[in-house]
């Protein structure tokens, strides 16, 4: 069977129904373990003090804010190339989750920045591109709501998503090629010397797993809702014509 058949609306509703509760349960478990471990059972950092505990929220949320947009970009490209309705609906479903992840990253970053940098906000390249990404999320959701025809909405939001991807990529890499901002480099790296210490790294990995699973669970649930809304509108239109 082709991979695309799993994205057929009927088949998608079939395979996601048993997967959804398990994904939510695993997400809840990882988040509970990671956050409790990080909050209660890790030491303070010698420079950052107890504010290091904010890393367990900030890093996974920022990671998901960027990756949610990348997922929306892939889904939008699939829509543009293959006209696959479920992919357009999945992109739409992911946007509000991405907004929440971006908000958490911005808020926790600001609240950490005040004691560490002496300011809640700076027009640093990474922070600014992140704020623009947040505005793109809002614009993307508004565009879906503003256009009545779903296919036209999917076309236009796909274009917006492609443009916004520049800021998603900038949010991730601005710190590397604009060497003038306050924001430090990545907290996670495959290079052991650049990585955070193991005592912070392991609970952080569990939190990241929790955020990824929660994102997947929410996108699956919200996509199922969008498919049902689409079916309901089609049935209502048919009843009106009859």
């Amino acid at each position: 069977m082709s991979l695309w058949e799993y994205a057929n609306p009927k088949r998608f509703m079939g395979w996601t129904r048993p997967v959804l509760p398990w994904t939510f349960a695993l997400a809840g478990l990882c988040l509970a373990v990671g956050l409790i471990w990080g909050f209660f059972f890790t030491p303070d950092d010698f420079r950052q003090g107890s504010t290091v505990k904010i890393i367990y929220l900030h890093v996974p949320a920022a990671l998901m804010a960027i990756n949610a947009w990348i997922m929306m970009l892939v889904a939008s490209l699939i829509w543009v190339v293959r006209r696959h309705h479920v992919s357009a609906l999945a992109a739409r479903a992911a946007a509000p989750v991405g907004v929440v992840m971006t908000l958490i990253a911005l808020f926790t970053g600001g609240i950490w920045g005040q004691p560490m940098w002496g300011t809640y906000w700076a027009w640093d390249p990474r922070l600014t591109s992140f704020l623009i990404l947040f505005l793109f999320y809002l614009g993307y959701i508004a565009l879906w709501e503003a256009i009545e025809d779903p296919d036209t909405a999917a076309d236009l939001t796909s274009v917006l998503c492609m443009v916004g991807s520049i800021f998603a990529i900038l949010s991730r890499y601005a710190v590397l090629f604009w060497n003038q901002g306050l924001h430090q480099g990545a907290s996670l790296s495959l290079d052991a010397e650049e990585n955070v210490a193991d005592v912070f790294w392991f609970p952080l990995l569990v939190c990241i797993a929790g955020f990824v699973l929660l994102f997947i669970a929410l996108v699956l649930m919200r996509t199922r809702t969008e498919i049902r809304v689409r079916r309901m509108r089609a049935l209502e239109a048919r009843m009106r014509r009859a």
Binding site: F39, F40, T51, V100, T108, W112, T225, R228
Partner: protein, 47 residues
């Protein structure tokens, strides 16, 4: 409760707001999921 020292307000507010936002998106998504499912069932019955 760990001793958060002088940064207790910052750390606790970061956790409180983040958990509230996560709970809000889960709660709102679930509420819409249930409502739309019930509405579709009604429409399918009338069809």
């Amino acid at each position: 409760m760990p001793d958060l020292g002088t940064y207790a307000v910052e750390v606790l507010s970061a956790y409180a707001v983040s958990i509230a936002l996560l709970a809000a998106i889960v709660g709102l998504s679930w509420r819409r999921y249930v409502r739309v499912r019930a509405a579709l069932e009604r429409v399918e019955k009338n069809d």
